[in-house]
C-alpha cells in the first residue's frame, strides 16, 4: 500500500476491532493523558494499557519505534526548558545565574508522559487501522463523503507530490540549476520549483475532479461499500464502556474545581 499512512498489516485482534472502538480507545487515552494526576499514573497507563494493547496488535516494534522517535525531541526540550525555567528549590545543576531544578525536570517529564499517552493512543489507532476503513466508519456515522475522500486522497497523493518535486528538481539540475547548495540559496531555488508544481497540481485537481464525476461520486442517493466493517454487540458495549470511563475521569478531575 503506497500511502503516507502508518498502517501496518497484521492479523490481530486489535486490527479486527471496529474502527469506532479503536477511536473510543483513543478518546479514553486522550482523557487519561490530561486527567491523570502525576507521572507514575501516566507511566502506569502507558505500561499497563498501551504497551499490552500494542503487543496484542502485534505492532509492538513499530509502536515503540515511532513512539520513541516522535517523543524523544519533546522529552529533551521539555525537560531542558522546564528544568531551567519552571523554578523549584532542588537545584541539580547551576550554570551561572541559571539553576536546573529537580522540580522543573519532573514537570518537564510529566508533560512528556502526558504526550506519550496521547501519542500512544493515536499510534495504536493509526498503526492498526486502514485509513479507508476508518473513513468508512466515520462516513457511515455522518461524516461528509467529500471530507472522507479528501483525507484518503491526501494520504495517497502526498507521496506522489514528493515524487514530482524530486523529478522537477532533477530536471532542473540536469539543466544546470544548482539545487544542492546552502539553505538560503536553496530557498531561492524553491521558487522555480514551486511554479511547475502548482501549475501541474491545478491541472491535476481539475482532472481528478472530473474523474470523480465520471465515477458517479456526486450522484445523489445512497452509496454502498465493498468493505464491510465487522461490528458486534460486545464492541458496542465496549465502546460505551470506554466513553463512560473517559467521562468519569473528566468528572473526577473537574469535581474539585467545581467545588472550589
Amino acid at each position: 500500500m503506497q500511502s503516507s499512512s502508518l498502517y501496518i498489516e497484521r492479523n490481530s485482534g486489535l486490527h479486527a476491532l471496529h474502527p469506532l472502538t479503536k477511536l473510543a480507545l483513543l478518546g479514553l487515552c486522550l482523557v487519561l493523558a490530561f486527567a491523570l494526576p502525576d507521572i507514575r499514573w501516566l507511566l502506569a497507563a502507558f505500561g499497563l494499557l498501551l504497551l499490552p494493547l500494542a503487543a496484542w496488535g502485534r505492532i509492538l516494534a513499530p509502536f515503540a519505534r515511532s513512539g520513541f522517535s516522535i517523543i524523544l525531541p519533546f522529552v529533551i526540550s521539555l525537560a531542558l526548558i522546564q528544568g531551567f525555567f519552571a523554578g523549584g528549590d532542588t537545584a541539580l545543576l547551576t550554570l551561572g545565574r541559571f539553576a536546573f531544578t529537580w522540580e522543573g525536570l519532573l514537570a518537564g517529564l510529566t508533560v512528556s508522559a502526558r504526550l506519550l499517552v496521547a501519542l500512544g493512543g493515536t499510534l495504536l489507532l493509526m498503526l492498526s487501522t486502514r485509513p479507508d476503513h476508518l473513513m468508512l466508519a466515520l462516513t457511515e456515522r455522518g461524516l461528509p463523503q467529500a471530507l472522507g475522500y479528501i483525507v484518503l486522497t491526501a494520504l495517497q497523493i502526498f507521496p506522489r507530490f514528493q515524487d514530482r518535486a524530486r523529478v522537477i528538481l532533477e530536471a532542473q539540475q540536469a539543466r544546470g540549476l544548482e539545487t544542492q547548495v546552502n539553505l538560503l540559496r536553496r530557498l531561492r531555488l524553491l521558487v522555480p520549483l514551486i511554479g511547475p508544481l502548482i501549475l501541474a497540481s491545478i491541472v491535476d485537481v481539475e482532472e481528478r475532479a472530473m474523474a470523480l464525476e465520471a465515477r458517479a461520486f456526486s450522484r445523489p442517493g445512497q452509496k454502498t461499500s465493498l468493505i464491510s466493517l465487522h461490528d458486534s454487540g460486545f464492541q458496542v458495549l465496549l465502546r460505551t464502556g470506554l466513553l463512560l470511563a473517559a467521562l468519569a475521569l473528566i468528572v473526577w478531575r473537574l469535581l474539585p474545581l467545581v467545588r472550589a
Binding site: 500500500m1 503506497q2 486502514r130 475522500y149 482532472e207 456526486s218 445512497q222 452509496k223 454502498t224 464491510s228
Partner: protein
Amino acid sequence: MITLKHFGYRYPNTEAWALRKISLEIPDGQFVGVVGANGAGKSTLCYALSGFAPHFYRGKTEGRLHLNEVDVLESSLGDLAGEVGLVFQNPFNQISGARYSVREEIAFGLENLGLPPSEIETRVSQVLAQSDLSELAERSPFALSGGQQQRVAIAAIMAMQPSVLVLDEPTSQLDPHGTREVFANLDALTQERAATVVLASHKLEWLAAFCDRVLVLHQGRLVADGEPAQVLADEVLLDYGIGGTRYTLAARAAQQGGLVSAQRALPVTLDQAREFFR
C-alpha cells in the same frame, strides 16, 4: 440513440467555438471513431457527449444534445454518471486516490452507484478477467505503469456498464497488443450489450479495423462522417493534418507510382491491403 442538432460549444473566456454546428445521430450499439488533428475538437466532443462540457467546464452551448429522451444540456453530471461513461486521456489522474487496490479502485464507481456488494464483486471480477487485470487486482493503482493505469481507467468505467462509453485517446500509452485488447473489449460491448462506444484516437489502423463509423473533425466542425473504408481512405484527410492509415498511404503511393491500377479502392485495413496489392 445520441442526437446532436446544430450543436456548438465554446469554452469560457474564449472567442472561438471549439465545436460548431454539429448534427448527427448515433444509434445504440454503434462503435464510432473520432479523428482529427490536435486541437480539432476531439476531446471537446467527448466532454460534450458525456455532459462535462458544459456541466464541468461551464462555457456556452448552442443547439441540442440528447441521449435517448434525456436532454444532456439540462441534466446534472450526477444524473448522467450511470448513463454515460467518460475515460479521458491522462490515466494517472483518473485514479480516484481513495482506494488502495486495483480491485477496490474498479469497485469505487459501483459503490457510488449504490449497487449491492455482491453485484459489485461479480462485476469487478468479470471486468478484471476481461481486461487481463486479474494479476494486478491487489496492487496499488499508483504502483502501475501508465499503460496498466490506462487499462484500469477503462475497466473502471466499463464496470459501471453505462449505455454510452466515451473514450478520449484511451490507448495512447498502450502497446499494439494492449490496444487490440481494448478495442476488442469495446467491440464486444457494442455487440453483447448494445452499448454505444465513441472513441477518439490517432490510431487510424485500429479505428479502421473495429469501428462501424468514423467522424472527422476539423477546427471544431464535423467535416466527414461515414464508414471507415470510405472516410479513412479519403485524400482530404491529408489536408486536415490527419494523414491516413499506413495501408492507405502505401497504397496511394503505389497508385501514384503506377504500380497498381488507379481504379482500385484504397485499403484501410491489413486485409484490404492484402487484396489491394494482390
